[in-house]
Amino acid sequence: MTDVSWIEQTLGGARPQAVAALLRYFHDLDVAEEAFQEASLRALRNWARNGTPRDPVGWLVMVGRNAGIDATRRVKRERPLEDPSVLSTEEDSESVMADTLDAADYRDDVLRLLFICCHPELPATQQIALALRIVLGLSVPRIARAFLVSESAMEQRITRAKARIGGAGVPFQPPTAVERAERLAAVASMVYLLFNEGYSSPNGDDERASLCDDAIRLARLLLRLFHTDPELMGLTALLLLQHSRVDARRAADGSVILLEEQDRSRWNPRMINEGLALIDKAFRHGTLGPYQLQAAIAAVHARAKTPAETDWRRMEALYALLEREMPSPVVTLNRAVAVGKVQGAEAALTLVETLAERLDGYFHFHGVRGHFLKQLGRAREAREAFTRAIALAGSPAEAAHIRGLLDSLA
């Protein structure tokens, strides 16, 4: 690997905070992005010669700010360009930057940058595309490949989304505590959506799947900035714990391997350890939320060395809490699975039947229902349920799994 590629990597790592701080100065996304571009070009020249500065973000913000001011002046034709050598002296005064650019400022800057990508008028996929482009600096061709659309279509989509948020007033006053919490919630759900885009990728190793890494990067970035927020700990833990199974959840032919049948030695222990540490930290706060509970549920699986060692009592309790925090028939269906393990098929089926109306068109409902009917020896009804499930299956792998259960009834 060449030095230049490491400098580029450092620029990528510094980008969210640098662009966010430049946006605070210029109140204009295009100017901020161009200023960052210019600073990056100067960094490539300067850092290759002098090494990476101790505070790359501070350096980029300072140089980018000067470049942006120049560009603005040039447009306004107020005065001639400054001699470039004047600028280069400022690139050395790092100690000045360290004083002026306090970490506390960056927090709300980065949050603002992410938050404007979450504009409620933008459809979710555009919010995600915008965050990938603006915050993480992914190239348009890469984003286009991840979303399986042409480059020109993605270019248009991003341009239009930018125009839309440009027109809407971007909030530049420091947020109140309530506003900050609202922004964090919007941004967290966008990060989770981004992760799910990658997670639902039909192949395990393409560009789309790498969206999971991008989501984890954003979650970690948020958590570093708001490191006492238990729901951000929960979100980061949830993403890490789900992603820890990435190498185990696909068979060689690309079909999904169910959790219980995965080779757990292929789960990533480093991601699991980090996820477990985060969920432990989050729970100490005693303020539960949906991300923490979902992460805790994932953690129950992660802690079990074999499926038989799964702590289903804890699982049932966690699903009951999640049901209260985030009521949804799908959560109840999952609780029913845990109830089935703890209290038996009879109790589980009673719970499942309460969902019949709301989940009639849902593949997993009929699969789970068939499973409990089968356990109770009600083969005819189980067969009917499995047949419904196969009709609703979203993938050949899902259908094949149910067909296997059907065959075992015969």
Binding site: M1, W6, Q9, R54, D213, R220, R224, H227, E274, A277
Partner: protein, 123 residues
């Protein structure tokens, strides 16, 4: 004397490395580590999880206070350390220079002599 070589870098940057880049860094460091091991100077090596996973216990009275995060909020974070047997500071700095050459991605190494060393045997 035994020296600790403490590894610092900005997590904003290290956590943006792809798995391939991370593997490349570790592979280059491994060459230096193997050399130190062959010379019989290599002690334990520790890589810490990100500071977001850290908790700090402040020794306040009457009860210690447990807070989220690393001990210090700094631009560069302690990411791990090496323990290396060195004749003197010069050799310790030479070793740090070799590591820096292998991992030329920015950051810093703090070279610090070790007072007490009990390797332990955690299971």
């Amino acid at each position: 004397m035994l020296y600790a070589i403490l590894c610092y870098h900005s997590e904003d940057i290290t956590t943006s490395w792809t798995k391939e880049q991370d593997d490349a860094v570790l592979a280059r460091l491994k060459v230096v580590e193997d050399k130190l091991a062959a010379e019989g100077r290599m002690g334990p090596v520790v890589r810490l999880l990100p500071t977001t996973a850290a908790t700090t216990l402040r020794k306040t009275k009457p009860e210690p206070l447990v807070i989220d995060g690393p001990f210090a909020e700094t631009k560069e974070q302690l990411l791990g350390f090496y323990m290396v047997e060195c004749r003197d500071l010069e050799q310790a700095l030479d070793t740090a220079r070799e590591l820096a050459k292998a991992n030329d991605t920015g950051g810093a190494y703090e070279v610090r002599p070790v007072g007490i060393f009990r390797p332990g045997s955690p299971r």
